[in-house]
């Protein structure tokens, strides 16, 4: 019963998205039963709005926004969005390959409010600017920290002197 529901939902989503955004979709993958669309950078907000507002799909819950740093590829960064639909009980993944340098992509906070802090964290860790974000500040590292820790060229032990320490007490 549950299996057929899952397959039906997957078919429904695939058909609807392909029908509306056929040419903007760059890749579809289905590894270990996780459906994932890779979409063009300019269409991400449109696709998100469609997925949220369509009455059969209703992807109203954004679980996560993050990014991957492929150190050696031509398009170095990929942002990843995890969204969930209560109606279909389906976890969906969207990926956007970022092909501009310095990396920037449109924000999805106009569609899902929870993406606010996730995008701030991604900016703090990777340096990807989210255009039209209401409040893009650093999340974890102190203000004024100049590097982006999760990029592959930043060493794990850090850069000595990049963070200040109080003097030894008397």
């Amino acid at each position: 019963m549950r299996k057929s529901n899952f397959m039906d939902s997957k078919e429904l989503i695939l058909n609807k998205v392909k029908e509306k955004f056929g040419q903007a979709i760059e890749a579809i993958s289905d590894f270990r039963n996780d459906l994932c669309f890779t979409i063009n950078r300019n269409q991400i907000v449109e696709l998100s709005r469609f997925l949220k507002e369509d009455s059969e799909l209703e992807f109203i819950f954004c679980k996560d926004v993050t990014a991957i740093d492929w150190a050696a590829r031509k398009n170095r960064f990929t942002t990843v969005y995890h969204i969930y639909s209560f109606k279909l009980n389906f976890n969906l993944r969207l990926k956007v390959n970022i092909d501009v340098d310095p990396p920037a992509v449109e924000t999805v906070t106009s569609v899902w409010k929870s993406a606010d802090w996730y995008e701030r964290e991604t900016f703090d860790m990777y340096g990807i600017k989210f255009l039209n974000h209401p409040d893009l500040r650093r999340m974890y590292m102190p203000e004024g920290f100049e590097h982006y820790p999760l990029r592959k060229d930043f060493p794990v032990i850090g850069i000595p002197g990049s963070l200040p320490l109080p003097n030894k007490a008397e």
Binding site: S29, F31, R32, D34, C36, I60, F61, C62, K63, D64, T66, I68, D69, V80, H82, F86, N89, N91, R93, W112, K113, S114, D116, W117, M125, R138, M139, Y140, M141, P142, P149, L150, F154, V156
Partner: protein
Amino acid sequence: MDRIKQIYNDEKLLKRLHEDKDITIEDVLENEMVINMGPQHPATHGVLRLVLRLDGETVTAIVPELGYLHRGYEKMAENMSYVEFIPHTDRLDYLATLCNNVGYVLAVEKLAGIEVPNRAQYLRMIISELSRIASHMVAIGTFAMDVGAVTMVMWTFREREKIQDIFDRVCGARFTTSYTRIGGVASDFDDEALRMTKKIVYDLESALVEMDKLMLGNKIFIDRLEGIGILPMKDAIELGITGPNLRASGVDYDVRRAKPYLFYDQMDFNVPIYSEGDCLARYFIRGDEVRESVKILKQLLDKIPQGEIRANDPKKVLPNKTEIYSKMEELIHDFMIINFGINPPVGDVFHSVENPKGELGFYIVSNGSGNPWKVKIHSPSFCSLQAIPLLCKGAMISDVVAIIGSLDPVMGEADK
């Protein structure tokens, strides 16, 4: 009174006062204070910094600042193998440590495609539920202590000590145990440990009744929490909140029901839901979840099968310690797995489990080598803290304390 009003409204007098440069007149109620509720504070449940803008005692705006416990987990995960990261997952939500272990190991097993034997799955469920009870005990205890009822924390910690005795016996440590392994669990529950678990399960029911009588008879406690910090259902979904905070606002979402993992689809338990969404509902829902966990534990203790506790997959699962020292094959496999890692296929997975705080998710990207290429931890406390600006607007300072306690954040996982 009329005379005072006359003075305040007297135009000529005010004009003369304003022309005098040596004095300043300002309406004291128009000043808003900006106050820092710093990272070191008895009631902020860890190192959370809040900057409040106050109009008298009412909060008009509040901005949380995180990052005081940012230890760099995701960066460290890229530099160590999958097995080496298990002790780090312990320290994420350091109150329900075994649930984090289970979540991470399930995600890696999904990526690598490893089948785990039944007894190991049942043991993982038992420790998950015990961990859930332990975490809710701390949540209830410290929440009551913040609001003023100090006895609760002593009672709930007494119950937690009993659970930690079981962990001590089975896993070797009181709470940061790193008990699970990829492919199973580290060691087996012997008869004494199962007997202790059974005793806890039956003792807990009477302890919960006692605690209920203590709290519900306390009118100050009820008055301080009822109607405070109401989180409407629509806002809870918009902000991405999961777990008891979401269920206290009326949404029926529990990962154990929606995407069952281990053997939760064969267990018979209810998912408590409240529709009010205030602090009192979030308090009651944790007590109810402890009762449901007790129900699940009783079923598990009846149904647990005999068998292996680790899968038999030599390239991916660590072999038994005793065999490593005596047989050649096992020694080679152990060497390869520890030094070169388990090498799962190229791809990425997202897997989530139901933690006591919410839904803990791991997004693991693998490039075929022994170290993960990226690990992203979706922590529930991070999302709960996003609700603070909305909930605390218009509340008083003492309500801010109650609201944070009811959301139950743990900074170890919010800051990663």
